[in-house]
């Protein structure tokens, strides 16, 4: 299951079936699970997409399932479907990092829209994650001296200043700089800064 999809977890078969049909008509890939336990048992770390969780379920409740997900370090966006009585719980869950909650009875188109957005976010997250991994791989290629030089470049210092700071010649600085640019696959200091910032200042999920 490498394709991103919406995981619908609901103990009511009719709901599962209806949502599956709905998502199908909007070309949203989805998978259905009769219980949280089933889903958690099958869950793999690489799965992409989002989770649509019913709060009140036989067995493990939606909230419990959410907690387990987060404990496992899974960052899939979670959308809660909630009955009227569960709203405070859903809000609390939202504060803990749930993507959204939607109250029953819901507007199905809204639900699909939310799910679509969640899938996009997840995809973005996934992309950002991938970029970060690339940058980190490239950073790992740098020698200690090259890293020193890079930090100073990121601090916006000129080559001359860098040479003074490191007590090396301007030429040596030039050599390190071109090496850093080469290894980091960038053409300018600005590009370098953007790339490194991706790693150092992680955007919030």
């Amino acid at each position: 299951m490498t394709q991103p999809c919406a995981h619908i977890i609901d103990d009511d078969e009719a709901i599962r079936d209806a949502l599956q049909w709905l998502f199908k008509t909007r070309d949203v890939a989805c998978a259905t699970w009769p219980s949280a336990e089933n889903f958690l048992a099958a869950l793999q770390p690489g799965w992409r997409g989002c989770v649509v969780l019913d709060i009140r379920m036989e067995g493990m409740s939606g909230l419990e399932c959410f907690d387990v997900l987060r404990q496992r370090g899974n960052q899939l966006p979670v959308i809660f479907i909630t009955g009227h009585g569960d709203v405070p719980m859903a809000v609390a869950a939202l504060k803990k990092g749930a993507f959204d909650f939607i109250e029953k009875p819901f507007n199905d188109s809204d639900l699909v829209d939310i799910v679509t957005r969640a899938l996009e976010i997840d995809a973005n997250n996934h992309r950002a994650e991938t970029t970060r991994e690339t940058v980190e791989t490239r950073l790992a290629l740098l020698t200690a001296r090259e890293q020193e030089v890079m930090e100073l470049i990121l601090a916006g210092k000129f080559n001359k200043v860098i040479a003074d700071d490191l007590c090396i010649s301007m030429r040596t600085v030039e050599a390190h700089r071109s090496k850093v640019f080469e290894k980091m696959e960038v053409r300018s200091a600005v590009e370098l800064a953007q790339l490194v910032n991706l790693v150092r200042n992680r955007p919030p999920h």
């Binding site: 009719a14 036989e58 199905d108």
Partner: protein
Amino acid sequence: MSPPQTTALSVRQRWLTAVPYLTVLLFLVVIAALVWFTRSYDEEEQRATLISDVLWMEQNLQFKLERNASQLAQIGQEILAADRHLPQTSAALRQLVRAENGLVRVMWLDAEGRLKGALPPIGEGEMLGEQLGEQSAANLRLAQALERRVYGQVYAAAGDRLQFEVHVPIYAENGFVGAMIGVYSLHDLVTHDLPWWFAERYRVSVLDSDGHELVAKSKVAPLSDRQSYTMAFDPPGGGLTLQVTAYQGETRWVQVLLIGSILLLGGILVWSVLQLRRELQRRHRAEQALRSESLFRRAMEDSMLTGLRARDLDGRITYVNPAFCRMVGYSAEELIGRTPPMPYWDPEFLQQTQDIHDRVLRGDASPEGFEIRLRRKSGERFDALIFEAPLIDAAGRHTGWMGSMLDITAQKRAEELARQQEERLQATSRLITMGEMASTLAHELNQPLAAIASYNTGCINRLEQPEIDRSELKDIFDRIGRQARRAGDIIRRVHDFVRRSEPKREPLDINLMIREAIGLIEADSTKRGMRIETELEEALPSVAADPVMIEQVIVNLVRNGMDAMRDNPPARRTVRVSTRREGDTLVVRVADNGTGIDAETGRRLFEPFFTTKAEGMGMGLNICRSIAELHHGRLGFETNPDGGTIFTLSLPVETP
């Protein structure tokens, strides 16, 4: 009463009680004084009589002596001076010498003192000297010298007689011619010829100068010499004394009797006063006891909260106690003597009240008492519980009716209030149950509806696309239809539940009932991860019951069971409902594996408003038990051997 009054009264009373004794004492003293006075007066009178009698006797003796001497002188003149012995003279002499005159002998002497004669004549044996001794001669000389008669000393003569003589000198023309001597017997003189009355009254005796008794009229000695009188006996003189002593007069019985009877009566008087006093004290004590008893009873009646009312056989009020007056608001004066209709009867129920009254008077009143609505003077109505009993007087006669009345308005109001409260609570509980049920059902209803909506949105999405797969859509519409029916089923169940709100009693298949009840809860139970298992005995007889109520009990018990297992692991989340026939009852058991019920909770479990749940009202089990009891059944609980609690609902089997 204040102490001073008591003292004053007791002083007065003491005086009053002492007066009879004082009077009796005074009476006796006066009587004694009177008797003494009478006696002494009598004695004085007796003494005066005695003295006059003695004087009379003395005078009589003197007179006799004087007359004898005169006779002697006369006869002496005849026989000495005239010297003639006429027959008349002899007759006179004989006449003289008689015992009545006290003379035993008369002698006459001549001038020389020679005896000239004597009558009776002196016998041969008699010595002359005896008559004419020295003494006699001296007397004779003295008489001659004095020329008058002389009495001699008393001397003893033969035959123990005491005698004395009188010498009477006789003179003629030629002078002294002789003397007549009369010899007196002292005894005869004194005792003879005393009148009978004198002899009866007095003892007469002659004493010599030494006080020796010489002669006495009787040998019997008087008992007392208190009443005696002594006087000189002169003549004959010579120190003789005449003593007259009254005989102890015959006892004066009348007086003795009088005194005796007075003493007796006085004694009786004292005794009767004492008896009277004792009787009085006894009466006083009895009266005191009666008064304190009466006061005690009065205090009891007055302090009673029960109204008391006595009526005679005609229904006329003869007595009411303060509690009764307080209850009806009329004073005792306004009520006593009243006949029906009474002022405190409620005009609205006049006929009924009159009927009850008549029944009481006929003696048909129920011994359990009867309730009646009455009206106070203020117009306020109140409910009274009245017990009527025949009033039997001390003689055992039935004289009327005694009624005791309790104001039960507050009690009735409280009962009514409690009943209304119970009804309201039942209704509230029912509403809550229904509310919860509705909430659950609404939630359940959400599922098919949400599914329908989703199918529907999907269909619309499809319809917006250029190509339509009809078979695909048909399949989806089928599913929509199924979900719509599912929703319809839920709504029908709600409708069924709500529709059966009228309580009724009908033959009930308990198993069917339980299945329906579980059907109601099932959705909730699956949501909560609970299982409900049934173990229903087949072919059970029906029970007469209100299905809604019994359903409510079962729903409640199953819900309680589920609540008790809230914290259980999923494997131990089963409520087991079983039915069994046990003799004449059907027993429904609802068992859970929950936390169980501790002793304290168990004791208070059925109390209204006792709950162990944060959101509970504490009415559920109370109402359940009421329902069980309403069906003559019982609701209990026991500890589940598998852990948790078993609630048991027993209902009596309907007998055909």
